[in-house]
Amino acid sequence: MNEVLTVLCLEDSPRDAEILREFLIDAGYDLNMDCTAAEKEFVSFLSNRRYDIILSDFKLPGFDGFGALRWSVEICPDVPFICVSGSIGESLAVELLKKGAVDYVLKDRLERLPSAIQRALDEAKEKKARQQAERQLRIYSETQSKLLHTNDLTEIYRLVAEKISELIGDGIVFTTLLDESSQTLGIVSYKGLNVPFEKLIKTLRIDPTKMVYNLKDITEDELSIYRSGKLEELEGGLYILATRRIPKTLCKIAEKLLQIEHIFTMGFVWQGVHFGGLVILARSDLSIYKVTIELLINQAVTSINRLRAEMKLNTQYALLNALIDSPGDTIIFSLDRNYCYTAFNEKHREEMKKVWNVNIEMGMNLLNCMSSYELRESAKKSIDRALRGESFSEIQCQQELSVFYELSWGPIFQNENITGATVFIRDISERILAEKILNDSELRFRRLFEAARDGILILEAETGLVVNVNQFLVEMLGYSYDQFLGKRIWELGFFKDIVGNHENFEELLQKEYITYDDKPLETIDGSRIEVEFVSYVYKVGNKNVVQCNIRDITQRKLGEIALQNSEEKFSVAFKTSPYAITITQPEDGKFLEVNDAFYSMTGFTREETLNNASVGMNLWVNREDRDFVVRELMAGRKVVGQEFKFKKRNGEIIIGLFSAHLIVIYKNTYILSSINDITERKQAEKVLEESERKLREAQEMAHLGFWNWDIQSGDVIWSEEVFRIFCLDQNEFIPHIDSILALSPWPEDHERDKELINRTIETHNPGSYEQKFLRPDGSIGHYYSTFHGNYDDNGNLTSIVGTVLDITQRKQAEEAIQILNKELEQRVIDRTTQLEAANKELEAFSYSVSHDLRAPLRSIHSYTNILLEEYENKLDDEGKRLCGIISSDAIRMGGLIDDLLNFSRIGRSSLNVSLLDMKSMAVLSFAEIASENEKARTILEIGKLHNVNGDAHLIRLVWNNLISNAIKYSSKKEKSELSIGSQASGNMITYYIKDNGVGFDMLYKHKLFGVFQRLHSGKDFEGNGVGLAIVQRIIQRHGGKVWAEGEVDKGATFYFSLPAEGNR
C-alpha cells in the first residue's frame, strides 16, 4: 500500500498508542501520527493540521469519546472518526455512530482496523467528491439558466465572475473586456471576498473607481498576446490585469502577500477576435474546477456571442429601416404574403393619407386601404407577380391628376422562401409636365414656320372661320387645304368634339386659352390619332385671332412616354436599390451598366467596371456558378434567390443572394441580375448555429438535457440527452406534454408540478422541480429540471424551456441512507427497551435482596447468640468459639449486603442536579467524618474549589469516601497531611485530594476502583472495598472521570473530574 496516512490518535495509554502505531505500520501504511491524551492538545491538533483520519479511545482522562467526537465534528466534519476502544457497549457504539463516528473497533480485535480505515477513507473521499460535483453542477446549472436570460453584456461578466468565485470559494476573479474599437481594456468585474481586495489594489496601485485603462499603457507585444486570447502566456495574470507598468517584482510581492499560488487565465474569442478574458487568482488548486470553469466560460462566451449576433442583426435591421426612409421622394413599402404592411416609409404614409384618406399602420392590409376596385385589382395583380418571385417595373398614370408613378416590384427572400414583396414607387409626373410645357413654348416659337412639326390652325375669332392651316396638319389628317379654308371650325366634323360648336368656341374666346390632350382626332381614312390640342387667342392688329396647335402624340403616348418612363423606372430602381444590380453580356459578363450599390458592395470603381467583364474581374469565386446561371437563363428558366460567393476588389469573399433574368435591349440579349450581400446575415446565422452547437455540447458534457415546450401545441422538443435520461428511442417516442406526463404516472405529482410551474410563470422567475419517472424497463428514475418561461410582448407565456438532469443515483443514495437511519433508530429503540427491562429486573432483584437476604442472617446471628446465652453450660470452649465465628460472619455478610445495595442504588437513582458549593461540602464532610482525635492530628489544607453542577447527595458521598480514605490510610503517620484543591481545564474541572499516607503500588491502580477490590488487608485498614467503586460510579454518572496516583509509603492523590457545564 505504502500511502502516507496522517492520523490523529487520541489515546491515554502510551502502550496502546504504540500498539496501534505498530499495527498500522504492519498493515502497510506510511504512518504520520500525532498522539495525545489531552483534550486541549487534541483540539489544537485538529485546528492546525489536516488529518486523514481520527482514531480515538473511548475512555480518556477528563474526557471521553463523545467529547472527542464533538470536537472533531465541529472542527473538521469531513475527517472520518473511528472509535478504538477496549470495551464499549453496543448502545454506546450506536450512540457514537449516530453522532457522526464512522466506525468503532475493539482493541482486542485490531485486525479489523485497516479495513475500517480504508472504508472510512474511501467513504470520505467519495463524499467529498460527491459534494464537490453536486456543488459544481448546481452552480453550473444555475449560471447556465441565468445566462440564458441575460441581455446585458456587463451582467454576463459580473455573473461569471461571481459564480466562479462561489465555485472556488477562496480567490479573486477578474473578467476583462476589450471595447468595440479594441482600444480600451477594462476590469469589468471582480469577486472574491475572502481575499482582501483593497490590499491587492493598493499594492498594485489600481484605482478601483477608474478601472478602465488605455491600452497605450501596455506594450505592443503584450497587446498582441492579449488579443490572441492566450492570456496564460503573459507573465503573471496580475500584471496584465492592471495593464499598467507595474514592476514584476511588485506583482510577485502581491502574490506572496495574498498567498496566491494558482493563477488561471482564459481569453474570450469571437470570430477569431479576442474581446476579453478571465483571470482567477486562488490559494487552492484549481484543477478540480477546471472543467466546470471552462464550461462556465464557454457558456458565457456563447451568451456573449448570442448577444453580439443579436446586436449585429438589430443593427442591420436598423440600417435597412434607415435605407427605407432615406430617399425623400420615393415611396417604399413592403408587404407580407397577406398583403399586410411589414414596412413603409413616411412618404408612403403621406401619400396614402392624401390619396385614400387612410392612416396606415404596420400590419394593415394594403388592399383594404384602397377604395377603388380597379386599382385594388391592379395592385393585387402586381403584388402577386412579385410574390411569385418576379422582379419588374411598371408605370401608372393617373391622368386626371396629371400624376405618373413608376413602380418597381420585387420579392423578399428569407431562407430561399418568398415571404413578401417590396415596392419602390417614384412620382415622375413633374418631369413629364415640365417636358410638356417646354414643348408648348417651342410650338409658339415655331408658329411662324409653315413647316412646323405640329399642325397649326388659325381662326378668325369673331366668325370662327378657318383662316389658315399648315402643311403638317393637312398631311396629318389627310384632308386638303380646301376642305379647311373658308369653313367655320364647327363645320369641320373632325373637330366637333373639340371646338366644334358655338358654346365651346365662346368658352375659348373668353378664356383665351384652352388645351386638351384626351380628345383624339379622326383622319380621313377613319383612323384615330392621339393629339394634344392647344388653342389660344391673340391680337393681330385689331383683330382677335385664334391659333390652334395640334400635335400628334400617338407615338409619344404609346412609345416615347413608355420608353422614357421605363428609363426612369430603371434609373430609380438602380439608384434606390440596396442590391447590386448589373446588366451584363451573357457570353463574357462584360458590364453594360451597374448601380451604385454594386460599387459599394464590391469596392470596384466605375471605370474598372464598365471597361471590364465579371469574368475578367474574377467577381465570381466559382466560375461554374456563372456558367450555371447563363445555362439556366438561356434555357428559359429564371434564377431566383440563389446563394453564390463573390470576391470583392480587396479579395474578401462575400455571400450574395443572386437573382437574374434575360432582358432585350436594342435586339441584344443581356442578363439583368441583382446581388444582395447577405454575408453578415450568414455570419450571424453561423454564429447562432455555432453558439447553439456549443450550448448543446456543453449540455451533453454536463449530461444535461434540454427541452422546449410549446404551450399552444403542447409539442415538446427534447435534446438527445433527454432521450438518454428517459431511456427512450428518438425514433419511436414523440415528446408531447401528454406523452411526457404519461411517463410519470403519479397524478399527485402532476398536480404538484403544475402548481410549481404556474407559480414560477406568474412571477416570471426561473424555477426547478424534481420528478420521478418510469423507464421502459419498469424501473423508477428521478430527474431534476430547471426551467423558465418565454413570453410574448403582451406577457403571455408562449413556451417553457428547461434542462433535465438525471438524479436517480443521488435519490437512491438518499433513500438508502434513510432506510439505514431507520434501521439504526429501530435498533436503538430495541436496545433501550431491553436496557429498561434489564434495569427493572435489577431493581426487583435488589429489592428482593434487601428484604429477604437479611432475615436469614438475622436468624443465624440471633439464634447463635441465644445458643450461646442459654446453652452456655453445655458448650465447651471450641463450641463457643465456633458459635462466635458464625455470629461475626453473619454480621459481616450483613454489612456486605448493605454496601452492595448502596452501590447498586447509586447506579439506578436519577440525578438531581444543582449548583454545588464544593468548598463547603469538603469542609463539612471532613468535619463529619473525622473524629475529634483525627481532627487534632490532621493538617488540612483546602485550596480553591470550583463550584460545579451535580447531585448534592451523591457528590457528598464522594467527598465522604475520599476524605475518610485519606484519613484512614494516613492514620499510621505521625500527622496526617491532607491537601484538597481543584483546577479547571477545557470544559472539565479536576478535583484532587492528596494525603501523606501509605500510598499504593501504581501497578495495581486499575484495581483501585473495582467493587470489593482492596489493596490493603482488612487487618491493616478496615474496609470492604466498595467506597472507591461508589466514587467511580458517581463520577462516571456525572460524565466525569476518577483516577489516582501514588507510591508505596509516599502518599496518594485521588483525582476526579466533573464537566464544568454540568451534564446531559
Binding site: Y847, S850, H851, R854, R858, I891, G894
Partner: protein, 150 residues
C-alpha cells in the same frame, strides 16, 4: 392512674422474626399483649373486626408493628388502607422491616408512617431496638383520643 399495658399488633410472616420479636418484648412483660398476624389481609381483618376477628373486643391496638414484605397484601398497601380508613387513620404504625430501600422509606413516610425501624442483623441490637419500640409505643406514648373509644 395505673400503668395500662396496651395491645401491640405485630404483622410479620417470618416465624423466626416473630419468635425473636416476642423474645425481645417478653423482657418487659409486653409479649402477652402481642397479637400476631401473618399477612396484610389478616392485619386488615383484625383491625376491621372481620373474618376470624369478628368477635374480638372493640378498640385499636396501641401500635401496629408492620413488616413490608408479606404475602397477599404487603405493608405499604396495609398502611395506605389504614390511612384512608376514617376509623383507623390515626392508628400509630411503625414499619419494622429488613429493607433500607429508599423507595420503601419514601412511600412509607408519604403515606404517613409514625416510625420506620430497620431490623438490625445483630441479635443484641435487634433485641434492644424492638424492646425500646415496645416500651415506647405500648407504655410511654399517649394513644390518639378516638382510637380507644372504639
Amino acid at each position: 392512674m395505673k400503668t395500662e399495658i396496651r395491645t401491640i399488633l405485630l404483622a410479620e410472616d417470618n416465624p423466626r422474626d416473630v419468635e425473636l420479636t416476642l423474645e425481645a418484648l417478653s423482657d418487659h412483660n409486653l409479649a402477652n399483649n402481642v397479637i400476631v398476624v401473618r399477612d396484610g389481609v389478616e392485619t386488615m381483618e383484625y383491625l376491621r373486626r372481620e373474618g376470624k376477628y369478628k368477635q374480638r373486643k372493640t378498640g385499636n391496638p396501641a401500635v401496629l408493628l408492620l413488616d413490608i414484605k408479606m404475602p397477599r397484601m404487603d405493608g405499604i398497601e396495609v398502611l395506605r388502607a389504614i390511612r384512608s380508613d376514617k376509623l383507623l387513620k390515626m392508628l400509630p404504625v411503625v414499619m419494622l422491616t429488613s429493607s433500607r430501600e429508599e423507595q420503601d422509606l419514601i412511600k412509607s413516610y408519604e403515606l404517613g408512617v409514625n416510625a420506620y425501624v430497620v431490623k438490625p442483623v445483630d441479635f443484641k441490637a435487634f433485641i434492644e431496638a424492638v424492646k425500646q419500640l415496645g416500651v415506647f409505643w405500648a407504655v410511654i406514648n399517649e394513644a390518639p383520643p378516638l382510637g380507644n373509644n372504639r
